[in-house]
Amino acid sequence: MILREIKELLGCEVLVGNPDLEVDVTDVVASDGMSEILAFARSKELMITGLTNIQSIRTADIAGVCAVLYCRGKVPDKRVLDFARDKNIPVLATSMGMFEICGILYAKGLRGVS
């Protein structure tokens, strides 16, 4: 599924959109625990989290995920977004909760990593 389609499906706001949103997503890693993301992500997953501090983007960079999606309407501060832009990591945000997001994406054929 293309990231742009996920954006439409979940009603996301694009906070950092460079590079563009045409990346293909097949796997998802979802957690507020950064070590869990580092443990399970293999690379190129969509990372879903409610943690909006700078460590979320550091984790995304180190884990090599294709994009970060913040849930529950949380939006990180400018410094975090600037860091994501610097690392070329697209960042989206939606008001939906993590359970709802994961359910919708699972129904569309995306799968979690473990």
């Binding site: 625990g33 070590s35 443990a39 550091r58 960079d61 180190i62």
Partner: protein, 145 residues
Amino acid sequence: MAVELLRESYGIQGRNFDKAGEISSEIKALLSGLQLNPTSIRRTVIVVFEAEMNVVMYAQRGTLTLILTDDEIALEVRDEGPGIPDVDLAMQEGYSTASDEMREMGFGFGMGLPNMKKNSDEFRIDTEVGKGTSVLATIRLNSHG
């Protein structure tokens, strides 16, 4: 005999959550410029990041030394922290002594040390309660495809 190609040491300031992770980003940039196996870089940077966060969360200060040879990356992390009373327990996934503040940072869910071990080819912890902890981790450069 392995040939040492690079040796860099970094100071880690305990309790400084704002800067936590900067060394990991620096090391990732350094290694990415050296045309090494991407899997080895990824494993190394995960170990560095978890180690850096552990020092920031628990210790007053620490140092991380990275030694690159022609066949492996060795990481030596030494801190002046509380030490680990029961290493076997600390190595169990899910076991944690983290504070709420640490968990708010997204860490302290009992995955840090197991993650470091999982991403290392050799992993050793030496610790003394009240003195500090040192971790030696090596990641081979060509064993991960």
